[in-house]
């Protein structure tokens, strides 16, 4: 990995409710301009890791009790979530969370206000989003609540992009979407990555799709990194299968 990574986690531990240990010492790095996938079964700690990075765990009675999170070399372990969005680290939440009573265009605009843009700047950014998501342009005046799941996911990603982020935390972009739409969304993610230089850290259940587009991956199991490697290494190994389907633990496979 050349240069300093844009995001670095050093052995972080997250506790919910002062007694439940959800993440037990995860270390990972996202290189500048990279796409990194976090894989693992339900409850492995993927979402908690993402929320720890964006400081949203505190809203759910969680706390990072150990370790450090570095964004661009600065410590953001206990940073204010709003300040993080301002400095270019934006999360797209699992389950999209569009503002249902706002139109698609209004939803997108809300994402841009954090930069305090001029009118011209705002509409230029909008045009750019519509360039990447032409579907959204045709639906720009419909209420987000009445658009399809795939369109809502596009709105959520587009809204994050309006802040001109350097790193996007993408939580389960494929949730509840048809394979074709998933493919479309991942194509756009890769496009954004290559043309705009946005880095991505994405948590995903759909390991096949994620590894096809990511460059590096971490497999998380019970709150620890069970194995990591380049996308092609992981796609070819048994470790991934074991972590989803059970049977042998990943740790024993790696040792063997």
């Amino acid at each position: 990995m050349p240069g300093t990574p844009i995001l670095q986690l050093e052995r972080i531990e997250v506790i919910y409710d002062q007694v439940i240990l959800a993440v037990r010492g995860i270390s990972l790095a996202v290189p500048q301009g990279g796409i990194v996938a976090l894989l693992g079964a339900n409850g492995a700690g993927k979402s908690t890791t993402l929320k720890a990075i964006s400081s949203l765990v505190r809203a759910e009675r969680g706390e990072v009790v150990q370790g450090r999170i570095l964004f661009d070399g600065t410590d953001i372990t206990h940073a204010n979530p709003a300040k993080l969005a301002e400095s270019g680290l934006v999360q797209v939440l699992e389950g999209r969370h569009c503002f249902g009573h706002l139109s698609v265009e209004e939803n997108l605009k809300t994402g841009g206000f954090v930069r305090r843009p001029s009118r011209a700047d705002l509409s230029a950014s909008l045009e750019k989003i519509y360039h990447y998501f032409p579907r959204l342009k045709t639906r720009r005046h419909s209420l987000a609540g009445y658009t399809s799941g795939g369109e809502q996911q596009m709105v959520a990603i587009g809204r994050a992009l309006m802040a001109k982020p350097r790193l996007i935390l993408l939580d389960e972009p494929s949730m509840g979407l048809a394979p074709q739409i998933v493919e479309e969304i991942f194509e756009i993610v890769r496009d954004l990555n290559q043309r705009e230089g946005v880095s991505f850290l994405l948590a995903e259940q759909n390991a096949t799709v994620a590894l096809r587009h990511a460059s590096y991956g971490y497999v998380i199991e019970n709150g620890v990194v069970a194995t990591e490697g380049t996308a092609s290494e992981l796609a070819g190994s048994d470790a991934l299968q074991a972590s989803y389907l059970g049977g042998k633990t990943v740790a024993s496979l790696v040792a063997a």
Binding site: I15, D17, Q18, V19, I20, L21
Partner: protein, 355 residues
């Protein structure tokens, strides 16, 4: 180590259904009840019974009534004091107009009347939700207060609608002295609380929680919304009615309709917010906070600042400090005092480990 469930197995379904499944909890609650019934009457004095323990118990019971409705079934209400008033006035009238009716039976019937009124004002709850429901229950608050002031028959045509406690005779025993009133209140509160604790662990209680968490999902799995919500209003109204009767007859002795005003409804709402929504224990903790803290503050300020600031200012100062305390506490623990207890229990279970 001390608070562990290791080795405590449920070998019968009846064990699983116990109100307190853990031996430590059973020992603790038995000790507490013994202390409350046997030791407190010997240790306490009249001031403690009349000014602190009785209102504490009655307000806990009122909190319990509202908590079933708001904390468990998720229906906001500001009509608590109105249902208490119905309970008090109905009990008074049953005692007055039905000769020979035992006091406890009158209280129960008063509760039933309050349940009926609560049911009526709960009818909009199927269509109205959240803050709008809160506003519609205000109607109950203003209507009931007006009703008992307007129609003298309910207060036996006494001046300004004041009613006085009937003689507190149960099976020939007189409970009119402070210790007697304390024991009577305690007994009623313990019985109703045990019933309520059972109720929230029953099918109905689980239905309430389902409706609270997401009423659409509850309807989809076959929980009848209207019946569930109305039962919450009725049972909550019953408990509030009994609490109202106790408030009027074991605590105050004489009461007028304005004694059950909006301020009282807010007080009960604050009890469950501070104590903890959706918790039986929370009502007692919240009532203790509301009743004991002002007493403590006035004692403290009386001894520390009596010469420095004049009495009127001091009283305002106490209210300000009390308000600040509530805000500070709710920032620290938005889920109420009961949550602190729950976290302490969780930590005691894994002690001496951290998690």
């Amino acid at each position: 180590m001390i608070y562990t469930e290791a080795g405590q197995f449920s070998i019968r379904y009846s064990h699983d259904r116990r109100i307190f499944r853990l031996r430590q909890d059973r020992i603790g609650i038995t000790a507490l009840l013994l202390f409350a019934f046997a030791a407190v009457p010997l240790l306490g004095n009249d001031y403690w019974f009349s000014a602190i323990l009785i209102p504490l118990l009655v307000l806990s019971l009122a909190g319990l009534g509202l908590n079933l409705l708001t904390g468990y079934a998720g229906q906001l209400s500001l009509g608590s004091a109105a249902f208490m008033a119905v309970g008090a006035f109905a009990t008074y009238n049953f005692q007055l107009r039905v000769p020979g009716l035992p006091l406890l039976a009158s209280m129960a019937l008063g509760g039933v009347m309050a349940a009926g009124v609560a049911l009526l004002f709960g009818l909009p709850s199927l269509r109205i939700k959240g803050f709008y429901l809160l506003v519609s229950t205000l109607a109950a608050q203003f209507f009931v207060e007006w009703f008992f002031t307007k129609f003298g028959w309910f207060s036996n045509n006494s001046a300004s609608g004041v009613i006085s406690a009937p003689p507190l005779l149960i099976l020939g025993h007189d409970f009119s002295n402070p210790v007697g009133r304390y024991l009577l209140t305690l007994a009623v509160v313990v019985v109703v609380t045990a019933l309520a604790r059972n109720l929230v662990k029953s099918e109905l209680g689980r239905n309430w929680m389902a409706v609270r968490d997401m009423d659409t999902a509850a309807a989809v799995i076959g929980i009848p919304l209207l019946r569930t919500k109305l039962l919450a209003f009725a049972i909550s109204g019953f408990i509030l009615g009994v609490a109202g009767a106790l408030w009027a007859f074991t605590y105050l002795g004489t009461v007028e309709p304005h004694g059950f005003d909006l301020a009282r409804s807010f007080q009960i709402l604050f009890i469950i917010i501070i104590g903890g929504m959706g918790s039986i224990l929370g009502n007692f903790l919240g009532a203790a906070f509301i009743v004991l803290f002002p007493v403590l503050l006035s004692q403290l300020s009386g001894s520390l600042l009596s010469g420095v600031i004049d009495a009127g200012q001091l009283e305002n100062l106490q209210k300000i400090i009390f308000g600040v305390l509530i805000i500070a506490f709710l920032i620290k623990e938005p889920d109420g005092l009961a949550r602190l207890w729950q976290i302490a229990r969780e930590r005691a279970r894994v002690w001496p480990l951290r998690y």
